[in-house]
Symmetry: C2
Subunit: 967 residues, 2 copies
């Protein structure tokens, strides 16, 4: 069978051998425009633009025929000739047939047929060709250049029918668009106009999205195309327009402010009680203007600036009644002005903030749930603005005729602290949350706030791919986000980087997003990571420096022509993120060192300044590449938020020390806050406990200068089995401000000894470091048994000794799964199916941990969990806790009175962790701790067990994992 | 009558006209040595050394005859000739007769006769001549040069008999002598030897002291003269040697450590139980060695390092019994080795720390009080190491045969924080405390720890003058410390500075010591003074800068030859103190500014560095003047103590800011923590309440730059009666980092308005300053009535409306007196007699305050008091509080469980203030608050009254005084 081949020769000679693309006049104009884009993709790939013709006689022997069912005579003809079978797609949603046919008609030997079930089906089909040619969806938006090739072939029997997209409306929201996106589009396109949306829509469609909320802080989408240009362009391309939760009836945010006034026919009050007539007219005119386009019409109403409509004194019933009237009015207006068959008009009501109680009502007052006004209306739920879902539909609610939507955030302007600068979203979290949403029946609308779009391309691709093909990337694709990242990198940079470089790029993207997952850059401050405990700051700084090196290696290896796309898509958000994290980590070290008087502090301020300079240079660079293509996109403030927004933000303080007036040194035990200068009058005995963990053979302490005078030290080990990397030295506080001394233990030489000591002579005395290296008896203990050697046990959740599935009433097996990478320090465990409330003893799965403690007694267990919100209004997330043979304790891991937007929630979303402490009774020796799944949303990352009241030293990430048998 | 004249000619021609001084061979050798010193003083004054002769025939017509009763044939002769009357001094203590006689014998026309009742009487008499010649007691010690003169004359009938000194043993303790005094004497004299003590003894005697505790950290007074040289010299000069509380039987601190050992006859344990024989021998040999000299022998025993002798398990009775045995042993040894008449041997027992309970016993166990072992023993009491007396003798106890002593501190090495660098004592405090001690019958021994001596000359002069002539400077000399200071200045610098300069010097000395009285320099840190509230930091900085200017003016005006004495006695301690205070105040401002992101912070760090450099240069200068005469004396650490001693001390951290990346300004209301950048989203309304006080007509706010970019501001006053010193401007964050805007109110133009506003346009928005200037109605209110205008009332204690004396059973009138200058912000009031416990309604005097509040209700009154300790073991200091017509409330101003060395005490001695809060009920409108004296030690500086729970903003000095009628 003959292969279907497109190659350079074919395209080069098309003026003599005939055109490749057939452009039907009956086709949707938008489809033809997309075909032009695909033809341009071919030009990028083959170096020659394919020709298109509106006359089938001018086609060459090889052709591309495209069209939409019902809008394409040629498809009709091929179907009638049985060359294709349109029934395979007819009536389906956004589906395309992609098939090679032989001799479709006179003069054409072979044709690639791209048939869409509808306009978007055809468009996706056309872009499918680009995709097969390895053209990135970001080809236009980010200038990602495809690899040049000689030739492309498809098997002669190629036939592919696409699937219906998993989620009906899938798109993104350009939001919080000042100062970045706003400045960008004003400079590049002169406004929020169709010239700009041309690129946005193309980006959306190439990513297989179909839905969009336009920028609305200052822009009026329906007016600024100019005129209806934006709306007409969207409609031409089949982009379904929506609007945010407080923009009903096709009216965008700023419009009312723009049109209101004493003499306005719309009145001068955004109030459905005092200005019912004006508001109704306002909506009516909105629907008249925009109703002819494809929309999801927002219904409902909120007060100005996201406030409630009625005053504080209004009862719940009053509010519900008012909202009901609003809906009735809006439905009537839609029937009159858009479509008399209301069920055919996609509508959306956001269940957000104060609207939520109106929907649910209370025991005395029926809410709007199940009301006829909401029939066929998509009920849009929302995350907590920080990527954690809130209430999800119960099984009963999932039957709602309109289905459910989800408004998710990759960017947020609001409390407790905004994040709007560069991408800081982490795919495993998006997977975990959005696949749970889908499991809970949220399948009709997915919209994600991408802020300024720029730098969000990576998570946005994922979000839309997940929404388009949930079967491939959703709940079944456990731990597949790395695969996703790798193929995404390949799509963008397959032509540019070698395999090894792409692996490095994977490390970089995964690395910087995971670090941002631990703390978003805007949420960083000097008090986040502990400057010394568990070396968490130093360890993270090492990781960051490695990643920054990787970013620079890639920067130096990429060809000049490909630098802009690498810079904009990867380098800028990665380095921006990492450098900012570094700045704050250095600040933490600097402040800590300064408070100890260490001269090292002064070196750290120099490094901090370098980070700030790098931050500014990075933005400047971003603003100037490709003649300022991205100018404006880097303008968001991102350092040192002190309020929810960027106002009054503060750079970290540089703390410098003035040297002491005599030689002084301070000895610190790395990973702890212990310090001593060796004064005979004060603390001069320090403890190094690292070697209590049998797997640890190296530890360190640091000698730092307090003055700028030559200060000598001498180190003596009192045991042959303890060796130090230095035995003497001198610091000058300037060139040499500190020295890290590595300590090694040789357990084979210990001869039954359990404790050693190191003496450090300083200018003022002597510091004694007691090194405890008492060996641990693990005889008889099975693998994965944690042994308390340091006064506490820290367990990564995936290090259970065993786990137990359960079936109970479910058809699915209930089970805990490890979510790889989904933890600040390692991973997490979560129970599946994600929608179930389990009953201990029936269908509740568990994980079981084993650990040994030295003394029987009361212990505390800290759970480190994802800051999930409860899926029900009950505001509780339970799990079951069972120690040894005791009864199972059903524990609510949330505090009493927990609520989204409350203080406890704020801590959780900033820290991206939530901790809960339970008390347990332990026996001397071996204990087991079973954790049963109960409520959805319980995602456990880490457990820390310690004697009551003896919490391990403070840290951000929690104590590093302690020893277990087999470690 | 012929004047007695000594002049240059007389001295110049003495080789031909005969000698001036007659040196008897019978005189005490020490007296003759002192006469030599006085002769040298004459040389300094007249430019020619007087001659002396041992042959009365070689005397000139004018002579000086000196001697001691019983040691002087010539005095005997004159007495017999009735030219003098020795009976006027005979048998008296340290008294001298100073008389001009005509023709005492052949060849001499006129003689000045200086006759001492004893050795020290003669010495004081000799130095009396120097004093009359305006030779400073510091002539030798500090090289203070007397004014040169032609001639000196005494009336021919001159006759003066000195008084017996008020306190029997008066002296100082060289202590905490490393690193300063130790390095000094090692370099200058090669040890703690007689060469050095020669100067120390001279200093002591010229100051009319007679008693000394030698340096004892490392030195052994009896061994290092060399040999007995030190002790012999002391004895020669009539200096009575003592030793500190833990050095019994003429053995000094280090001796036992030096002599102990396995083979030592003294054994190897400082333990009267396990090593009774060794210890007894050690004491015996000590007495044998030193008993022949004049001593006050320390008795009793303490453990090593100031600990208790017996273990923790010992009962009180065990301890008392042990101490009794110790005393018996020691008394016996003294009888055997010093004087069989024990009552003739001055002995001292320190009632200090754990010895105190052994002395008092408890209800079940009789203490050592009144025991025969302590008969004739001086019981030495002690301050709390920070200048506040502790327990004082009750009336009954004052009958103790041995009398009482007081160990006072101008320098301390110990908790909560040491102070050893330069003088930081304030005369009004010394007066208040030591005159109270005297009132309480502590009159047999006064010793003051002067640390390294250097820089303590000023308060030491005062201490010894007070002890010598209590009638002149003590309790009767209310508010005479300024006079003392002025005459002290005149004594040292009368020859060097003009009258006006001496007034400046008074301001300088008084100023720096008062500032140190608010907080000693070593006790300063960045958190002491509030950086903005009530402008206390700025106001103090202004005072300091004025004083520093004064110091420099004097520095520049003094003649080069007199610079060293000015530098050492005044400039160095004053500037050292002030510059250090300034460093910390700047640090407070710097840290505060940095936390607000103010670019001003960076300027402040430069000023801080200048202070640190000045501090070091100052010490270096001190160490190099006069060929390094004072080398070593400046070595004590003094910056940033973090422990009780200087180990690990820390310079203030320099906080620098990195400029914001866009023009930003912050507006702050001076004297408050209010701030705003003018963001529409955040706090942008500030309140300026200064004009609520009718006497205030100017206030200010500050505009500061957050960036290094040109940032403009515009200021608009919305009222004609409010004017600003600027209406617009621009800051660049570098040259111009901030601008203080002065605001004036013109009340005459207010026309009934009560509130105005100022708008400050900033780069990001607008700050509105609401200016409240509501007038106060004072009609019908009498003078000294405080009116609440700002939500609280702050009253300087001396601003009572009236005060009431009382007599009761006392012969003295009971009364409150104002102690001028004896307050951090103004003065204090204290009841006299200082020894009395008053009974309200009988003999309790009171002060009465008047104030007006807007609302009836519960109020709180904060008392700001001197941190006095109770004079009894009851640990309470009462006063009576009476509001309006209510009952008198007897209030303990100390917290329950108060004890010296407790945390509350620590705060008090560091802050040098104690606060107590009482609740009172106030009526709307006028109220009176009477404060009755009850316990001794109640010294009130300030009262702050505010509605319950509404404490005024934090500060160190307390809120500045608020408005009163007549202010």
């Amino acid at each position: 069978m003959l292969e279907y081949v497109i190659n350079q020769t074919l395209l080069k000679n098309s003026s003599t051998t005939g055109s490749l693309f057939f452009q039907e006049k009956e086709a949707f104009s938008g489809v033809n425009k997309i075909a032009k884009k695909v033809m341009h993709d071919l030009e990028l790939v083959f170096g020659h633009a394919p020709a298109s013709t509106t006359n089938r006689n001018n086609l060459g022997k090889t052709a591309v025929l495209y069209g939409t069912v019902g809008q394409s005579p040629i498809l009709q003809e091929l179907d009638e000739k049985k060359l294709i079978d349109l029934s395979e797609i007819k009536g389906k949603r956004e589906v395309f047939l992609f098939q090679v046919v032989e001799s479709p008609f006179e003069g054409v030997e072979q044709a690639l047929v791209i048939a869409g079930s509808d306009k978007r089906g055809t468009i996706y089909g056309l872009f499918h060709l680009s995709e097969l040619l390895n053209v990135s969806p970001l080809v236009d938006w980010a200038g990602v250049k495809p690899q040049r090739r000689e030739s492309f072939s498809l098997s002669g029997d190629m036939k592919y029918v696409s699937k219906e997209p998993s989620v009906r409306y899938r798109g993104f929201f350009i939001n919080d668009e000042w100062p970045a996106f706003g400045n960008w589009t004003m400079k590049r396109f002169g406004g929020f106009n169709a010239q700009m949306y041309e690129h946005i829509f193309e980006l959306l469609l190439r990513m297989k999205g179909n839905y969009m909320w336009p920028a609305m802080w200052s822009a009026r989408f329906f007016d600024e195309g100019p005129g209806l240009g934006n709306a007409e362009l969207a409609d031409e391309y089949g982009v379904v327009m929506g609007a945010s939760h407080h923009e009903p009836c096709l009216r965008y945010g700023e419009e009312y402010r723009y049109l209101r006034g004493e003499d306005s026919k719309y009145g001068d009050a955004w109030n459905f009680i005092s200005n019912k007539e004006g508001i109704t007219k306002f909506w009516e005119d909105g629907l008249k203007r925009g109703g002819k386009f494809e929309n999801v019409i927002t219904v409902g109403m909120r007060g100005e600036q996201d406030t409630s409509i009625m005053g504080k004194d209004a009862t719940l019933a009053d509010n519900i009644q008012l909202l009901r009237e609003v809906l009735q009015t809006q439905n009537k207006l839609i029937e009159e002005n858009v479509n008399s068959n209301l069920s055919e008009v996609p509508r959306m009501l956001a269940l957000y903030k104060e609207v939520e109680p109106f929907f649910y009502g209370d025991e005395n007052t029926e809410g709007l749930m199940n009301s006829e006004e909401l029939e066929d209306v998509i009920l849009m739920l929302c995350d907590d603005n920080h990527g954690n879902l809130r209430t999800l539909p119960t099984k009963e609610m999932r039957n709602h005729s309109g289905g459910y939507g989800m408004y998710y955030h990759f960017d947020y302007h609001g409390g407790p602290i905004s994040y709007e600068w560069v991408n800081s979203s982490y795919l495993p979290k998006v997977w975990e949350q959005m696949s749970q949403a889908y499991d809970f029946g949220v399948r009709d609308l997915w919209i994600v706030n991408v802020g300024d779009v720029a730098t969000q391309e990576f998570p946005l691709s994922y979000f839309l791919d997940l929404a388009y093909d949930f079967e491939k990337w959703g709940t079944n694709a456990l731990n597949k986000t790395d695969d996703y990242t790798k193929q995404w990198i390949k799509k963008q940079f397959g032509a540019v980087f070698q395999e090894g470089d792409m692996e490095k790029m994977f490390d970089l993207i995964n690395g910087y997003t995971k670090i941002a997952h631990s703390r978003r850059p805007e949420h960083m401050n000097v008090n986040v990571y502990h400057p010394v405990n568990y070396k968490e700051t130093d360890n993270l700084l090492k990781q960051i420096d490695n990643l920054l090196n990787t970013a620079d290696e890639l920067y130096n290896s990429v060809a000049t022509e490909n630098l802009p796309e690498y810079f904009a898509l990867v380098y800028y958000p990665a380095v921006g993120n990492l450098n900012l994290q570094k700045l704050w980590l250095l600040a933490g070290k600097n402040h800590y060192a300064a408070k100890l008087g260490k001269m090292e502090a002064n070196k750290l301020t120099e490094q901090m300044k370098e980070c700030l300079i790098r931050d500014r240079e990075l933005v400047d660079h971003y603003h100037t590449i490709e003649d300022g293509k991205w100018y404006g996109m880097g303008l968001s403030e991102h350092i040192g938020f002190v309020h929810w927004n960027e106002d009054e933000c503060q750079n970290p303080i540089l703390m410098n020390v003035m040297p002491a007036n005599k030689p002084r040194l301070v000895v610190t035990i790395d990973g702890t806050e212990q310090k001593s200068e060796g004064s005979p009058w004060h603390k001069n005995k320090l403890f190094l406990d690292d070697f209590l963990q049998p797997n640890v053979e190296e530890a360190s302490f640091t000698i730092s200068s307090i003055s700028d005078l030559e200060a000598d030290y001498k180190i003596t080990s009192n045991q042959p089995w303890l060796t130090c990397s230095k035995t003497s030295g001198s610091l000058d506080g300037l060139e040499k401000a500190e020295e890290v001394i590595q300590l090694k233990v040789d357990r084979s030489a210990m001869n039954g000894e359990t404790e050693g000591s190191i003496e450090v002579e300083t200018p003022v005395g002597k510091v004694t470091i007691i090194v405890n290296a008492k060996p641990v008896d693990v005889s008889g203990l099975s693998e994965m048994t944690f042994v308390d050697t340091n006064g506490y046990i820290s367990i990564e959740a995936e290090h259970f000794a065993s786990k137990q599935e359960a079936s109970g009433n479910n058809t699915n097996v209930s089970r805990f799964e490890v979510l790889e990478g989904y933890g600040k320090t390692l991973s997490a465990v979560k129970a599946f199916p994600t929608t179930e409330f389990f009953t201990v003893g029936e269908d509740a799965p568990y994980v079981e941990y084993q650990f040994v403690v030295q003394k029987a007694g009361t212990y505390e267990v800290d759970f480190y969990m994802q800051p999930s919100n409860p899926v029900t209004k009950e505001n509780k997330i339970f799990c079951g806790l069972q120690v040894n043979e005791e009864d199972v304790n059903i524990v609510n891991t949330l505090p009493e009175g927990y609520r989204v937007d409350g203080e406890y929630w704020e801590v959780g979303v900033l820290d991206n962790i939530r901790t809960h402490t339970s008390k347990i009774n332990c026996k001397e020796g071996l204990n087991t701790l079973r954790i049963y799944a109960v409520s959805p949303g319980f995602v456990l990352e880490k457990l820390v067990i310690y004697p009551e009241g003896k919490k391990p030293a403070d840290s951000y990430l929690g104590p590093t994992e302690t020893y277990y048998v087999g470690k």
